[in-house]
Amino acid sequence: MASAAASSSSSSLFSLSSSSSPAASSLSKTAPRVSFRRRPLRVSSSCVSTAERPPARAHILSTGSLYDVLGIQAGATCQEIKAAYRRLARVLHPDAAAASGDYHGTDFIRLHEAYATLSDPQKRADYDRALFTSRRRCVSPPFAVSMSDDVPTGGLTGFQSYTKRRWETDQCW
């Protein structure tokens, strides 16, 4: 529980957004990178209905609770959580999502964090309790700080702007 809180701390240097501090974001902004990969890894689109794609991305980026990240009800069963995770992994995993521009897998990491918490009964119980308490206090849930509104929707700062393996220049000799 403590580690979950630490990993999504709001004072993180690496998730500073332009809204929180312009100085910091320009400080950590890196030059656009050249990608040598023309065609990114992706899952063929035949398995992902195109209608599914935009809502999936939209709700991942704009919402608070882990249940919202997975797009499920708070009372969802274990099976539903797994199914939702898989359905979204098909869209958000960098291998699949590269075509739509997300090379760095931020969305997938968030999805997986949500899944990891909710698929573990103990963690889920702890989370539910915390969520309930924080909702009553009308502040954002402590576990979902990094998923709250101050997360930038594009032009991520610092280390988040990686693309794929950059071949010739990127070999470690």
Partner: protein
């Protein structure tokens, strides 16, 4: 055969005129370089197909011979490895030796191979050489492997009638990041571009996911999750993975590997047959010793192979000079000699199941692959732990990994299949934790073992001395509480920490593994009550250590001691 040059190959000069319009011009092929055998496969538009060499072999022996100025490999070579081995001209077991230093026990165990492996025991690369004429010609495992890959690539280019550049390579789960870099370097030497390095059992998991998806095609992504345990043991390495599969998605729950394989079985048995072979090469690496060792290896290998199908074998070896080995080797005896090896296999499986938090009762299928999967004791120990009678029958133990790699290659190249056979996705996991050293040589993992890739996690540390303005970030990979059991993969110094009492500056270390398994470490300094970092962030791609040896670590300890250490900062939680 095409151009035999094996130095840095640049462009594909080979097939300019015979370039036909291939249906998949950029298709990445899958390569499984084993310690003893190697194979290549590709997606032919409807299924995975294995390539054959000119001798109609799908499995080519992984060895390179140095003779007549031009090296040749097991891909094209007309002579058998057996013959070459006796002359000392053949280099093999490259995959066991790659990226290891001469203090490594694996390197020491390799000293009884019938070519020259010389160690100085100081933590540098071993000296490896092949006997050409009467000259020891030096080489490296990287060079030998690159020669092999160049021939493999030429063979594939001729058969597929197009230039080959992109590959998916399978690697043992036990490889450190340092060894993975070496493999990438080998591919670069051979003019190949690695799209992914897939741990072998995860490639098998992908093949399994595809088979399961074909079986239940109408029920995608819902309910029918299947859990499989994959045990892969080849000549050099042994790995285990637990995968949860549904709807073509293979999610790796846990992954573990050790350097243990048929080679260990062979050397144990060899020692049992001829105890003096331990120090066989002490008196020198003459042609006579090489010849004897070659004969002994071949006879032992043959005996082990036959013991998979019969209970005892008669061994008759004439080593010359009146030395003969005439013995009946029982299967029980073989199993007793290799008791430790089998115990380690058992522990690895148990550990992997534990890491995956999966009970054996919940495992739907047990998949056994690799050359050693034919050994009865291996089969019985795996089925024993998993409490079942049979292993999963739908997979060819020798082709599974390369087929999985070919599938990933097709998926990675963006090819879609009208029947949905390529609607696949592997969600990989890290086999080892990655973290930094803190005060008192404590290893603090930042990315935990078994973390899903892509992974990103950060922790906050602080200084241990008053007015400490610099910090040394030592990045380690492995398990354990102390750094002694892990190994250094990189280091960098963080400077410009504002002078303050100890425990005040906040040093954020973030580790990021992207989807192609590239690790980057980011570090930033922050003071309390100041919103932005005090100086530009550091971003370092790992590994930075070039030779993985302990020298670097020793030198760092000698020079800096604990002067620049950090400790974990206990965060005040803002509830």
């Amino acid at each position: 055969m095409a151009n035999p040059s094996y130095t840095v190959a640049s462009d594909n000069e080979t097939t300019a005129d015979e370039k036909v319009s291939s249906p998949f011009p950029d298709l990445a092929i899958g390569i499984d370089i084993g310690t003893s055998q190697c194979s290549v496969a590709f997606w032919n538009g409807s299924r995975v197909e294995l390539l054959r060499n000119t001798r109609n072999q799908q499995h080519m022996r992984s060895y390179v011979t140095f003779k007549d100025e031009i090296p040749a490999s097991g891909v094209s070579n007309q002579l058998s490895q057996e013959h070459e081995m006796l002359s000392g001209a053949a280099i093999f077991n490259m995959k066991r030796l790659i990226g290891r230093v001469d203090t490594d026990p694996i390197v020491h165990a390799s000293k009884n191979l019938p070519f020259l492996v010389q160690t100085l025991d100081i933590g540098v690369r071993p000296f490896i050489a092949a006997l050409v004429g009467n000259v020891w010609r030096s080489t490296t495992p990287e060079e030998a492997l690159a020669i092999f890959l160049v021939e493999l690539r030429a063979m594939a280019e001729i058969q597929l009638k197009r230039p080959i550049r992109n590959v998916i390579l399978t690697v043992p789960a036990a490889f450190s990041r340092f060894q993975l870099t070496r493999i990438e370097r080998v591919c670069a030497m051979a003019g190949l571009h690695v799209l992914r390095l897939m741990p072998e059992p995860t490639a098998v998991a992908l093949l399994y996911a595809q088979q399961q998806q074909q079986n239940v095609h109408d029920n995608m992504g819902r309910g029918n999750e299947k859990t499989a345990l994959i045990f892969n043991m080849g000549a050099g390495y042994c790995d285990v993975a637990v995968t949860a599969t549904a709807g073509g998605i293979s999610q790796i729950k846990a992954l573990a590997g050790i350097t243990l394989g048929g080679e260990d079985l062979l050397s144990n048995t060899l020692l049992h047959l001829l105890p003096e072979s331990r120090n066989f090469f002490c008196s020198g690496h003459g042609i006579h010793e090489i010849h004897i060792m070659g004969i002994l290896r071949m006879a032992t290998q043959d005996a082990i192979n036959r013991l998979s199908f019969q209970n005892s074998v008669q061994i008759d070896i004439d080593l010359g000079n009146g030395v003969k080995i005439c013995k009946v080797l029982e299967r029980k005896e073989f199993e007793w000699v290799n008791l430790k090896v089998f115990e380690k296999c058992e522990n690895l499986i148990k550990q992997c199941l534990h890491d995956a938090k999966v009970y054996v009762e919940d495992v739907n299928d047990v998949i056994l692959v690799g050359g050693c999967s034919y050994i009865p004791r291996i089969r019985s120990l795996v089925t024993g732990i998993c409490k079942r009678q049979e292993v999963y029958p739908g997979i060819n133990p020798l082709e599974a990994a390369v087929c999985g790699a070919a599938l990933e290659g097709a998926v990675a190249s963006g090819i879609s299949d009208p029947f949905g056979n390529l609607d696949l996705l592997t969600i990989q996991a890290t086999p080892l934790g990655i973290g930094i050293r803190t005060e008192g040589d404590i290893f603090v993992p930042i990315i935990l073992k078994g973390a899903t890739i892509p992974a990103r996690r950060e922790l906050t540390f602080t200084t241990v001395h008053d007015n400490q303005t610099e910090a040394l970030i030592l990045v380690y990979e492995g398990e354990g509480r102390k750094v002694g059991k892990t190994h250094l993969i990189g280091h960098f110094k963080l400077i410009g920490i504002p002078s303050a009492n100890k425990g005040v500056p906040e040093i954020n270390i973030c580790m990021d593994i992207d989807v192609s398994n590239v690790l980057r470490v980011l570090a930033g300094i922050k003071m309390p009550d100041v919103q932005w970092p005090v100086c530009p962030l550091m971003e370092v791609r790992m590994p930075t250590v070039d030779d993985g040896h302990g020298w670097c670590e020793e030198a760092l300890n000698r020079t800096y001691g604990s002067k620049l250490d950090l400790v974990t900062l206990q965060k005040k939680t803002h509830m």
